[in-house]
């Protein structure tokens, strides 16, 4: 039997009376590659913000690796092994690509308090940062500034920063947003590769149903803050008509 690494029980979150997450419960098995889908405003990003302690839940309970995360704070939760990327790339624009990942490595290795040694001294840290960039295909852009990267590469760098922390649970918020169709396919396969290579439990948010069906082992459908359905891709696919009917318009899935 597989162990659950993450468990949400009757989680609720509202903003000024607006119920963004409404009584959501689910469990994520360790090692799973799963997707969260749902139209814009469904509460997908909010869910990530709750799991990482960036927002506090109003009611319910979130357990990660046996720990109730309530009141723990983002920093502590991250140190326990939860990593994430952001819907809008959250990188350090004015630093080099290498330094973006190197900072994350230094954070992981508890070395950011060192105020004496030059960065070049941390050879192993630098090497491991390079390895991560290589696995994302960003190796040859290490010396460039992050703001110089193409949009798609900035999204990858965002993932690289999260990966550098060696998370057990990795949350990717629309990793393919704003990419060209080819890039989206490439990135989707890259996600699958990273999931295997780094031995992760991975949850990604994605609008494009076809991409989701391509790699996800498990799919959760979020709509207006509620968990509408969850299941294996086949089950969700069969369910898709129902969902489509419920949602009315197909184009809602396209997002943006």
């Amino acid at each position: 039997m597989m162990k659950n690494i993450l468990q949400l029980k009757n989680v609720r979150k509202s903003f000024d009376g607006f119920l963004a997450i409404d009584d959501v419960s689910f469990a994520v098995a360790e090692g799973e590659l799963s997707a969260i889908i749902g139209p814009n405003g469904a509460g997908k990003s909010t869910l990530f913000n709750l799991i990482t302690g960036y927002y506090e839940i109003d009611r319910g309970e979130i357990t990660y690796a046996g720990i109730n995360i309530k009141g723990r704070g983002t920093e502590a939760i991250v140190r326990e092994g939860v990593g994430r990327s952001f819907q809008v790339s959250s990188i350090f624009q004015e630093e080099t690509v290498l330094d973006n990942v190197r900072l994350a490595r230094l954070a992981k290795e508890n070395k950011t308090r060192n105020f004496r040694s030059p960065l070049e001294k941390f050879e192993e840290t630098t090497e491991s940062a390079y390895r991560i960039l290589e696995s994302l295909g960003l190796g040859n852009q290490a010396e460039r500034y992050a703001y110089e990267l193409a949009h798609g590469d900035q999204k990858l760098l965002d993932i690289g920063i999260a990966l550098a922390l060696e998370p057990r649970l990795l949350l990717l918020d629309e990793p393919t947003a704003g990419m060209s169709p080819e890039e989206r396919i490439q990135t989707t396969h890259l996600i699958e590769k990273l999931w295997k290579e780094y031995d992760l439990t991975l949850i990604f948010i994605e609008h494009d149903m076809d991409l989701v069906f391509e790699i996800a082992q498990w799919i959760r459908v979020l709509h207006q803050g509620s968990l509408l359905a969850e299941g294996k891709p086949d089950e969700i696919r069969e369910n898709a008509d129902v969902i489509g009917a419920y949602l009315g318009e197909d184009h809602l899935w396209e997002g943006y």
Binding site: Y54, V78, I91, Q93, E95, D99, P118, L119, L165
Partner: protein, 312 residues
């Protein structure tokens, strides 16, 4: 990349040599004193820019720590004698750690413009105390006759003393900026949320740099006290905090040595133009305006952009 680094090294070494040779260049004592003021202001600006340019924290109250150092040195020398000049520098730098931690715990709870206003408020409080507490601080009259020990008694000797301490500080600050801690500070300026998603508490690092900046500001204040032998409450006033902001912006907050250069330029302008007209602050205003319009990244910032383009 490495050519650039080599060029930088040669350039820096050249400047250091020039600074050391200056007193031998048949210049008047006046010039030595002026140069002394420039390097001390430069240090103060560099310390300030650790907060602003590096960490994105605009303090409008660094004069508090600068003035604190000056008054610790001034009061100790006046009351206990010239021997205490050098120890007072260290005592100021140590005591300011406690003060800046205490104030930092309050100011750093806020960010952006609220942080700025709070630093200003505390500094004005300090100024008020120094200004009003006549019996202890000399109030508006300030303190005169702050003589360093005999072996530092000439402008030349004192210049070398300051120069060594300033260069040592610059070296330490530069190491600090290039360390993992420094990288963390630069990154939290650009994206504090992401830093907390690296498992690091942003406020702790902000407090750390706040304290480091205060230490070197205090050192600058102590050194300044010895240049003119006199101090006054204006050193803690908001105009002083403003001046150091001006220096940094003028030189370029994104460049390590930008604030230092800006300090030099402003001290020179004050001195040269001040000799002809009392409206020098008006002139500085115009120069600032031109620089902000023509060189939005500061003098050194534009220079480095040019170098990037020319690849030298």
């Amino acid at each position: 990349m490495s050519l650039k680094r080599l060029n930088n090294r040669i350039f820096l070494a050249g400047i250091v040599v020039l600074l050391f040779l200056l007193p031998f260049m048949k210049v008047s004592e006046y010039v030595v004193i002026l140069m002394n003021e420039i390097i001390v202001w430069g240090l103060f600006a560099l310390a300030f820019n650790l907060l602003f340019g590096v960490s994105g924290m605009l303090s409008f109250g660094q004069a508090l720590f600068y003035g604190f150092g000056a008054y610790v040195t001034g009061l100790m020398v006046i009351h206990f004698g010239a021997f205490w000049f050098i120890p007072s520098i260290l005592i100021g730098m140590t005591a300011v750690i406690a003060i800046s931690i205490l104030l930092g715990l309050i100011t750093i709870r806020l960010s952006g413009v609220y942080f700025t206003m709070l630093t200003l408020a505390f500094a004005q409080l300090g100024w008020e105390i120094v200004f009003k507490w006549y019996s202890f601080t000399g109030g508006d009259d300030g303190i005169q006759g702050i003589y360093p020990p005999d072996f530092l008694g000439t402008p030349k000797a004192y210049y070398y003393f300051s120069l060594i301490l300033v260069l040592l500080s610059v070296w330490i600050i530069r190491k600090f900026v290039n360390s993992p801690y420094g990288l963390t500070l630069r990154c939290l300026r650009q994206n504090p949320i992401r830093v907390s998603f690296l498992g690091r508490k942003v406020k702790n690092y902000q407090l750390g740099v706040y304290v480091v900046s205060a230490i070197f500001s205090s050192l600058a204040g102590s050194l300044m006290a010895g240049i003119n032998g006199s101090i006054h409450p204006g050193m803690l006033n908001w105009t002083t905090s403003g001046e150091v902001i001006l220096m940094s912006v003028l030189g370029g907050i994104g460049q390590f040595f930008g604030p230092f250069l800006g300090g030099g330029v402003i001290v020179l302008i004050e001195d040269i133009i001040g000799a002809y007209t009392e409206y020098w602050s008006f002139i500085i205003g115009i120069i600032m305006l031109l620089i902000v319009l023509l060189f939005p990244k500061g003098v050194l910032g534009e220079f480095s952009k040019l170098r990037r383009r020319l690849k030298i």
